[in-house]
Amino acid sequence: MTERTTVADSPAGVAEPATAPAEQAKDTRVDARPKNNRAWWLVLPVVVSVAFTAVIPLMTVVNYSVQDVFSPSERIFVGLEWFRDVARDPEVRGAFVRTLLFSAQVLLIEIPLGVAIAVAMPRRGVSVSVALVLVALPLLIPWNVVGTIWQIFARGDIGLGGWAINNVLGVNFNYTLDSTDAWLTVLAMDVWHWTPLVALLAYAGLRSIPQPYFQAAQIDGASGWATFRHIQLPRLRGVLTIAILLRFMDSFMIYTEPFVVTGGGPGNATSFLSILLSKIAVGQFDLGPAGAFSLLYFLFVQVLCYVFFTVLTRSGR
């Protein structure tokens, strides 16, 4: 201990640098403080709540997915049969392709549109709050209400949107009969509902860019587009990664809004994975296939998110 005091007391740079670190290392190795591991109990609430909210429900699903349940007392273990069935089911495959296509379109529209809105939003003054409230408004509406709004809005007879398309644009539009119209209605609804999220994230990202970056761009004679391309866009990478992940997950699991608007129809034009799943699980009460379906669904979302995340963060390095 005395040696260490000498080192500390001697003026900086005078102490022999070769011996000092070694002595310090020796000191830290002998840790005389009393050990107390009772603090681990503080983790218990988290473990319990996660168990009840995530682990136990998930295990229930796993349990269903490997059994054929006839009644609570009659069940047969069937192994991976349900997984095979679900993966080969043309209806599931159709819904899978549909959902993937929907997510792709959602991302392609909402990300650029959101960024564009963010760039166009004011930077200072009262108009900032006004713009923020206006943009955020759709996010505050409950999902099934959004569905109801669009269900009415897009109707040809009493909905303003549907009526305008039919009578002002003169295009025949009926989402209850035409599958393309139904698809477009659901897509437009999602864009309306969720682009604001992307816009807000991008706006926050834009606001965090220090002023000198824009000043430097001015000095370098960069055009507006070049400023966007080389200063704003690169600095939005982080928030856009989050936006893409959130929008992918959400759109891939979309349920409430299309359920309210089209109920998956007409035919199965807007029958996405989640709608099909709930039909199997709740409508037909096929717990086994529904369990297997859920797990595959869950797995796919996980894998795709991982891929997105890896690609987006890798490309930034």
Partner: protein, 364 residues
């Protein structure tokens, strides 16, 4: 290259209620290296941004030689500006960063390449041209930011806004000498903003001291040190700053309390003044030998190369810089002598004269 002339240029951020930069007329001579020195918030950056055109001044006109540029946007002024933090196009390679200003101005490819290589050689960036700019250390990044300014032909001036803040001390020296070297090689007008006096004094041909939105003094480093024309310059330059002691002129004699420390210069009306003298020039002497003021030693800082003797004249602290190993002890009564040619009188913070020897001769 040409002189940069400010004619009555002033700027207010709040519609004229307060001036961030008071209207001033000033000329930055071509090819000189200036340091713009002042405390935080004194208007240094505003002044710089006015020159580069990032801010249009509230009043006044700006000339680059014979060309008025008051209304000319930044891109049209050919100014290079380096900010406090490295500003890079992070996704681009060093080469593309350097080429960016030229590409924006639609230079032919061959010329872009030629100029980029020229600048990278000047700045010693040849080895890293292909590297992605964000992977460089902050010092190198700052050099790349500087290079983006220098790459354009006929740069009117290079403005540096505290460019070494993010750089660690060891590298600071290297970078500063690099800057000096570049200044020597290119002959660009250089304006270097800093609040660090060492940086300013070692770097510049001329130091411009800015306080409270106005230039208080400009001159060579030695001039600012030896002959400050404003109390602020006295405080701000030198370490420790100039001692300021309230005094009174009565009957042609400058008195601190009751003690006469010297004669007042001719034509200075009687009344209160403040005398300013640098710690380097105050002498601790015996009471009989010279005119001066009695003081009490309050403490001594032994700095190694020299000692700082803290004393108190009446209520007012006076620091004396002496050779190492000063014999003074705390609480000792000493006698301070203020040499006539190094002691100045200030009224309303502005120098109004210097102390004259008492009775026409300086007793020693």
């Amino acid at each position: 290259m040409a002189d940069i002339r400010l004619e009555g240029v002033g700027h207010s951020y709040d519609g004229g209620r307060t001036w961030a930069l008071k209207p001033m007329t000033w000329t930055w001579q071509s090819s000189r290296a200036y340091a713009l020195l002042g405390p935080s918030g004194c208007g240094k950056t505003t002044l710089l941004n006015i020159i580069s055109g990032l801010i249009t001044p509230t009043v006044g006109r700006i000339w680059f030689g014979e060309r008025e540029v008051t209304g000319v946007p930044t891109a049209g002024r050919n100014i290079a500006q380096v900010f406090q933090f490295p500003v890079l196009y992070e996704e681009m390679s060093v080469y593309d960063n350097l080429a960016f200003p030229l590409r924006n101005r639609k230079f032919p490819k061959k010329e872009v390449d030629q100029r980029v290589r020229q600048v990278s050689q000047l700045l010693g960036l040849d080895q890293v041209l292909r590297r992605r700019s964000r992977r460089l250390d902050p010092g190198r990044q700052q050099i790349v930011s500087l290079g983006r300014g220098l790459v354009r032909p006929q740069v009117a001036a290079v403005l540096l806004d505290e460019p070494l803040t993010v750089v660690d001390p060891a590298l600071k020296w290297t970078l500063r000498s690099k800057l000096k070297e570049i200044h020597r090689d290119t002959g660009h007008t250089l304006i270097y903003v800093t609040h660090d006096q060492t940086e300013a004094l070692t770097f510049a041909d001329e130091v411009v001291v800015l306080n409270d939105g106005a230039i208080v003094q400009a001159g060579e480093p030695a001039e600012l040190f030896l002959s400050p024309s404003h109390e602020f310059v006295g405080h701000f330059i030198g370490s420790p700053g100039m001692n300021m002691v309230p005094a009174e002129i009565a009957g042609g004699v400058v008195r601190v309390g009751a003690a006469g420390v010297g004669a007042a210069p001719d034509g200075l009306p009687p009344g209160p003044v403040r005398i300013g003298v640098r710690p380097e020039f105050v002498r601790i002497a015996g009471p009989g030998a010279s005119p001066g003021a009695g003081a009490t030693v309050t403490g001594i800082d032994r700095m190694g190369a020299y000692d700082l003797v803290h004393t108190r004249v009446g209520e007012h602290p006076v620091i004396v810089k002496t050779e190492a190993g000063s014999a003074c002890e705390p609480d000792a009564a000493v006698f301070l002598h203020f040499p006539a040619d190094r002691t100045f009188l200030f009224r309303d913070e502005v120098r109004c004269g210097s102390l004259a020897p008492l009775n026409g001769r300086e007793p020693s």
